[in-house]
Amino acid sequence: MVIFEILDPTIGVVPIVVNAGAALFSAFLAGAASFVALLFKPRELLRMCAKYPGRLLAVGSSIVLLTALIWLWPAPSAGGSGKRSINAQNSAQGNASVAITVDWTQVALARIAAEQMGGMQAPEPEIPVATQSEPFVFRGGAQRLGSLGGEIEGPLQLAWSYYPRWNNEGVEEEDRDAMILSSPAVWGDRVFAASCTLDPPESFGAVFALDAKTGQQIWTIDQADGEFFKGFFSSPAISGDGKYLLIGQGLHPDTNCRLICLEADTGRVHWTLRVPLHIESSPYIVGDTVYVGAGAIEDPVTRKPISHPGFVLAVRISDGKELWRMDVNDPESSPIVEDKRLYIGSGFNGNAVVSLDLPSVTDEVPTLAWRAESAYPITGAVTKDGEVIYVGGGNGDFVYRDPNPAGLVKALNASDGLELWTTNMADAVLGAVAASEYLICPVASGEVIALNRATGEPVWQSRISDSAPVLAAAAVTDREVFAVSQNGYLGRFNLQDGTLIERIYINAEERPGEQGLCISSPLVVGGRLFVGTETGGFRCYVGGGER
């Protein structure tokens, strides 16, 4: 195995060349062999030069280029044993460390293997490249569809799975106890996700980038400033120029967590911003600004915040400068920002959807545009489609079930917060509502329910795994719905009538999940489905499998 250490992460383009070089190596070799052979036959060489001057020039140039690349390429580390062994240099602010692994040979081999497995029956999926003007935000956009287009043809089959890795005293180890709780992000050929490992008395997290086609790790990072990341519940977002990954840190009891900005190419820390609370909220990006909520920690007895009740903040991505923060009770929800207005759910002790008018001048703070009360906390992400805001809510949470479960889905007028309709649910709707042809709602009672967008009336309802709660948001394509049950099943439904098309187990079969923490929302991109699991690592499914 060959390991290259990227000492200067700015040359992120090099691996692509190397990858292409690996693929073309045999061609180079054949040409070079012919050329060398000709060197020992001067007459023949002259004849060929006269007959095919272009070909020989090309071969010669290629050899020179390849030689130069090898000459200029940084030397492998002394301990190059296939394990991650270095930390990259500090970030621009001089406060970050990052460890990077790129094994392009493995990338190539894995891609070949993946193509051989998945490509026999399924068409090669196209991974779209997001444009610079469209950041990737939680669930792929304000509609929270969890799909960037394209259908999956044929039964699902596992293309690859990946377990996060961590740096164990200089040795990179696979962490099979790591859970992927949040939803992935995709940019170009890469898929980004984050993990959570419960290792008492703390939790640990890693953010990683993988080759979307092979699952091969491109980079991973689990610490900054020598401090291990806490477990991640927040989902990553990618800036519109594709340069930066933004993610919140920490689980619910955590304090002193960071909003983290990484360089998407390398995983290197661009900046971090520490807040006194935790950030389970998934960031929303508009231009050079990221918006996110910092949630409260409630007292178990009084249910009141034991410290700060929570706030929403805005940070400039390019330099990490905090632009403003505004108190909102328990904004664990993921916001949406459109037309200088922010929408976010207010959870415990909030029970509302809150809209803020954003300042047009830096250093000013937002003002409250409207506040729409709810019977239950709104902890899930806000969905927006056109001029309507959709939210789900309810009692209970991702771990604990209320003895008297209840939930709702609300539609609000985005301009003034007026309620258009409310549909009561049998249990909480904690995952984002996907606004497709219908509103697809994950319900903790174990159902996936499609609602009429205009009226909130149920159109269909289906189950994945009996009564196992459905807590994560569904991914909705033009034809189908993909949703995950807490106990580790991925259900695939017909969007029109909710017919269950197929159901597969996504945890490690030999190690079924004990905790019911399959709560990662799947993402469908160009014929691939990415989803995190409790025990099966991070997974990619493609079509073309067998029934």
Partner: protein, 671 residues
Amino acid sequence: MRRYYFLPLGAWLWVLLLLAPAERAQAVINAGLQPYDLFTSRYSRALVLEVSEVDPSSGLLKTSVVKTYKGAPEQETEVSIQFDASLLGVLADALSDGDFQQGDPIVVFAGRKRAKKDFMLYANSFYLGKIQGPGNWTIDRTGQGAVGMSGEQLNTLAGTWNGSTPQLVRMLEDMATGIDFFPRKAYVQFKDDILLDRLESGITAIAVFDIEGDGDEDIVACSAAGDRVYLQTDPMVFIDATEGLGVASSSTSVALADYNGDGLNDLLAGTDLYQGHFQDNRFHFVKTELLPERSTSKLKTATFCDINGDGFPDILASFVDKGIEIYLNPADAEKKFVDATESMGLNRPETGAGSDAYVTPGDWNGDGLMDLFLAAGDGYLLIQDQDGRFTPKPHEIEFKFTVGADNETGITGAGVFMPIVQSEALDLVVPMEESWLVIANNDGRPEDVTRWGNEISEGSNDHLSTIGADLNLDGYMDLFTVSRAPNGHNRFIINRGYGSFMLAPVHRHYEYVFRGPSSERGGLSSAAGDLNDDGAPDLVVGNSHGDITLIINDTLQARSPIEFPPREIKILEGTHLLQVRVLGTKGVTNARLRLIDKADVVIARRDLGSNVAGGSFGPNRVSFAVRRPDVFTLEVRYSDGLIQQKEVDLTEEQYVSINIDRGEDLSQGVW
């Protein structure tokens, strides 16, 4: 009311709700991180130390290694543990609480995944530290070591384990041999409520009992509007047969037994004693006058109970202003019961005479004679000696049976003797106004272990009475408590084993635990028994609205095998049921059933006639859920000492139902 379950939120994982002050016993279970996880995947070593010496001034703790349960046994046999100077106060507090005493066990998980030198230590509370070198360890944090923004202590480990150290040692032993079971979820489900009947006044007592001996449990409900008897004529078809059976009473309690040994069940409804008759192919009751002169005092409860161990059901009664009275069975069908209250020493103030209180029977000290607990004053644990006299056992347990600002008495405290902390001896669970006390039987010495009971702290309000049954069929006896408030929440508390409890609906694994209104309409009475003959105990609840509700246990149906069962579910899927009906003309009422394995270890015990303190009554049939099916010896000890044994093979069938009889020739009579 403390309602942890409303706690937030989105990503509440494991530790999330554990933000409690530095109390010892904290509710909430961290389903994501249990001792099993620490043992199997988070730490490379698990061992038990024993305290040999402690110096509070220097913070030095000297210990010896007792046993290594995981990881290679270390060279070190002695370990010195130095508390950080900042924790000397913590150590002093622990010492004053009785922790770290010489000879005390300490559980250690060492070799943490992310920091190999880190260890967790549990000595009735968590401590965190580092292994500096062989035999040289330091402690620099406690489980409450995390500090919140406002300086408050955040305990991130209480939900993992907050039981007692000896119980954790026991669990470690079980984990090392793979026989542990400490569920993190409530794997139990009941069907929709079935409203059997609605009477015009509150249902003060319920009996689930096979009255006419056809193999199906019937139901008796007591009410000021008149007692009703519902016979199960077809599977789950109940017919009101009150008049046909000749029952005409309005009672506050009910019990059934064959008091006269004629093979037919008799009925005690309040202070009315009915004798069972079979005439013209018809079973019916005839009221007798065999009780002593009816007291002018108001009856609280009366039940059949073999107090003196002669096999004949006596009557144990409690009166509102008199306390306990006992009427001994004369063992003669024609003679009256004999008031033995005075001769048994129960007319004395020191045994609670004059109290308005519920009385719970059970053989506390295992001598074969019935002992009593009277829920009055500071709590009377009354031990019966060989001469048949009751003497209060001294204790330091802080019972409190007065309710509300007016200190009302006699409206809580109807408890139950049942195996909780260990499988063989009877412990005691007593409800109080909004809580319970779990009293462990420590070789006869009552020990309050409530503080280690986790969500046993999650009481409702106006607790009246508690019954015990293995409602989730995992081998552990669970608790069901009715709240006498008209809209009170009845509480189903799951016993997780190892002295820990779980509030079932909060941790439900299936879609629901209860599905119906009855669980939130309070209760004055309850009884458990297998109504539909599927092997799982069902519940019947009577409330102040006059509702008689059947709550049918659906756990076995919900537990159908699944494709990829997690470990706990796999264990439950492999659990086999043994149901035993005890038959005989005497000694049945308080028969003791024990299931004994090949190593002569009692793996489970059930006692008939336990769930009677609140005035209700259960069947002569019990269920054993066995997680490791094997061939066992079932031992039935009738209350007169007769022992019947039977080998039962639970390896093949998932559900085995048997009858155990005394083996007597009924034609000769037994009187």
